[in-house]
């Protein structure tokens, strides 16, 4: 039984803020940040957008492509580090909004930036185990970055949803692999508003160790080499890390670029590599193979090998493409409006 993606969709908020605008407020060196992070601007959610609303949008796009009855979805998993509620699931609201209730299993997941790929893995595994006919895995975040911190230049908002099933599969999962250790590189404790990170420690012993080990482990498990793939997508905390990961694993830039959204999207945390995958599926051809490696601080990576089927061309035009959402009609914000949108400043209530 070939199990895989039967529907996919993403959502990118329309508002943006440029690196220069953030740097202007903090007296920081914008060209240095742009060069260092390989990042020009990032998406910003409006005050009425959150992980739930973006998950609903992305799921609706996925459903349009899948063309199935949402009542047949037997499980929904949303991975995020910005679930609007500490207690009360995001998944219940999303499932209700898309018409997937009441016969459905649900859990909200958290594993820093890889909670989205975790949701995908669990959803797909339930379909494989024939526990449910369809299952939805979502990665979404309105990422938090403390004012003035390096994270503020990248922490952005977006969502991607993947519906898994066993018929009319668009992309078959040929193999998967996970790699995890206890590595405290980035964290947010209860009652804290912004995450903290261990600076340069987030690079070599954290992101690169896990992403490279996962990529290598998965290719070894599958007996594959970089030549066997047409596309590759990594978690994108900034523009630079995924490009370097690709280079170290032996992938040319051309195989990365389609899913490399970070330079204008920013880091959508749990949405990052899933949105990159959605952008690749928007343009992939039947027979293409895609390597995906997520990363979550704490730390671990999930890897997937997707083989695109002949069904893909039928559905690509049925929902907005990720890159189109990213590129069309952005609204640029000044820092003050951005600060208001992100709840960094608040009006005193009467």
């Amino acid at each position: 039984m070939d199990v895989g993606i039967v529907g996919f969709g993403s959502y990118v908020p329309r508002h943006r803020i440029k690196v220069e605008e953030i740097a202007r407020i903090w007296g920081a060196d914008a060209p240095a940040y742009k060069k260092g992070l390989m990042l020009r601007e990032k998406s910003v959610p409006t005050p009425d957008q959150d992980t739930i609303t973006m998950s609903v949008e992305a799921s609706r796009h996925a459903l349009r492509r899948a063309g199935i009855d949402p009542a047949k979805i037997g499980a929904i998993y949303i991975g995020s580090e910005s679930h609007p509620y500490a207690v009360k699931p995001s998944g219940t609201v999303v499932a209700e909004a898309i018409g997937a209730t009441p016969e459905i299993h649900c859990a909200d997941l958290e594993f820093a930036c890889k909670a989205g790929s975790e949701g995908m893995f669990i959803a797909m595994s339930l379909v494989k185990a024939q526990q449910v006919e369809y299952a939805l895995g979502i990665g979404a975040d309105t990422s938090q970055g403390a004012p003035g911190d390096a994270l503020e230049y990248s922490a952005s908002a977006g969502a991607a949803a993947f519906l898994f099933g066993a018929s009319k599969v668009l992309a078959v999962c040929e193999d998967s692999y996970s790699y995890m250790t206890d590595t405290p590189d980035f964290w947010r404790r209860e009652y804290q508003f912004y995450p903290r990170h261990a600076g340069r420690f987030t690079g070599e012993p954290a992101y690169f160790k896990h992403v490279l080990a996962c990529g290598r482990g998965l290719m070894e498990k599958a007996g594959a080499t970089p030549d066997d793939f047409d596309w590759v997508v990594f978690h994108q905390p900034n523009g630079k890390f995924p490009m370097r990961a690709a280079q170290e694993l032996g992938f040319p830039k051309e195989k990365v670029e389609q899913g490399w959204l970070c330079p204008t999207l920013g880091n959508t945390y749990s949405g990052s590599s899933p949105m990159g995958l959605a952008a690749i599926l928007d343009v992939a051809k039947p027979g293409d193979r895609i390597l995906m490696v997520s990363y979550g601080s704490g730390a671990g990576s999930d890897g997937f090998i997707w083989r695109v089927t002949g069904e893909i061309t039928r559905v690509q035009g049925l929902a907005p493409h990720t890159r189109a959402q990213l590129e069309n009609d952005p609204i640029y914000l000044d820092y003050g409006t951005y600060a208001k949108f992100r709840g960094k400043i608040r009006k005193l209530s009467a």
Binding site: D29, A32, A198, G199, R200, F201, P205
Partner: protein, 385 residues
């Protein structure tokens, strides 16, 4: 006082050593030095460490590290003089041997700086300045050295490019040092367009935050002759001076008086002048520091330190190579270890063990280690005998 020789040196690769504790880092260097000296044990030991408390939450390093060594209940002394802690640790070990109190003595330096974040490291380093009169006004070390650089540029016409040339030279030297933290070469353009830290100093004008240790073994010259078959390196001079703690109290913003005073004493002890030196290892915590230090050492004329690197005079192959090891800029600057690493380089240069960065045959070499903005300076001269 007895004549003293350095008979063993030890150091491992410096950098962000996240996989190792300060115990590991220090013990590796210490055991290497003891093995290099060809001795079984040491009778006394010193550790230069600026701020074990703020960087690692650990004081009382004397017994902690003596225990690592396994030489029994030997005296273990921690020495602190900010970034000159290493140089001063060596000077205490030198007195220990010269006075006849002990024969085989270990002088070491250690700093583990990267286990705290940038703000905590900046704060820890700032304690080397005057907290009441400087730090509480908001000044940081790059800020203090930036003011010194501005003053030097204003009075003597030292240029931005000349500062960059110091960094370029030291990274070029460091590219030949397999233990250096940064072994890549850089260009003057890269220095001048790197991130601005405190105008006119940019990030590539600054030495990095580093984890590292270094160690050397000292013995009386007469005993050393029997202990080692390696070329003998004698401590020809050991000098130490202090100056006003706060920069604003100094007579001259463009002059490091503590280095000048210590150097005068050192030249007198060694019976030589700067012209006899084959090389120097100096405290280039910032590019402007090297410019001002070589003036205070009499290697460059007052106000002419800026030209030295640009003209190639202080590069390997030049008249007086300065920082053949790569200096603090490229080798790294684990503050307490820096002074000992300078001495290790001097000993290895005099023994002609430095491979591609060897200065050639050398008789005299000088090391200058400095605390704060020059409130303390330690100068040593070594002679191959």
């Amino acid at each position: 006082m007895r004549d003293v020789a350095v008979i063993g040196v030890g150091m491992n690769r410096w950098g962000e050593l996240w996989e190792k504790s300060h115990r590991d880092i220090w013990t590796e260097a210490a055991l290497q030095a003891i093995a290099d000296a060809g001795v079984e044990r040491v009778e006394s030991m010193y550790v230069g460490c600026m701020s074990g408390g703020l960087f690692m939450g650990q004081e009382h390093l004397g017994p902690l590290l003596a225990e690592q060594l396994g030489c029994g209940p030997i005296p273990g002394t921690r020495v602190e003089s900010a970034c000159a802690s290493g140089g001063l640790s060596f000077r205490q070990a030198y007195f220990d041997v010269a006075s006849g109190a002990h024969d085989i003595v270990l002088a070491t330096g250690l700093e583990k700086m990267t286990d705290v974040d940038g703000a905590a490291a900046t704060y820890a380093l700032s304690t080397a300045a005057d907290q009441e009169y400087e730090c509480y006004q908001g000044i940081t070390f790059p800020g203090l050295y930036a003011m010194m650089a501005r003053a030097h540029m204003h009075r003597y016409g030292t240029t931005r490019r000349q500062l960059a040339d110091v960094a370029v030279k030291n990274h070029q030297h460091g590219s030949m040092n397999p233990l250096a933290q940064f072994q890549g070469k850089i260009t003057a353009e890269q220095v001048e367009t790197s991130v601005l830290v405190a105008d006119p100093l940019r990030i590539l004008d600054c030495s990095p935050i580093t984890d590292g240790a270094a160690a050397v073994v000292l013995a009386p010259v007469e005993m050393a002759k029997k202990l080692t078959r390696k070329p003998l390196v004698r401590v020809a001079a050991s000098a130490h001076a202090t100056d006003h703690m706060a920069l604003h109290d100094r007579n001259d913003l463009c002059w490091i008086e503590s280095t000048a005073v210590a150097a005068r004493s050192a030249y007198e002890q060694a019976g030589i002048g700067p012209a006899k030196l084959s090389f120097c290892e100096v405290h280039d915590c910032f590019t402007i520091a090297e410019v001002m230090v070589i003036e205070a050492l009499g290697i460059a004329e007052k106000g002419k330190g800026g030209e030295a690197a640009s003209s190639g005079r202080t590069a390997l192959g030049g008249a007086i190579p300065v920082n053949p090891s790569g200096g603090l800029k490229s080798k790294g600057h684990p503050v307490g270890a820096t002074g000992i690493a300078q001495i290790r380089e001097a000993v290895m240069q005099l023994r002609e063990e430095c491979g591609p960065r060897q200065v050639g045959k050398a008789r005299y070499g000088l090391t200058q280690n400095m605390g704060g903005t020059g409130a303390s300076s330690v100068v040593h001269i070594f002679e191959r005998i």
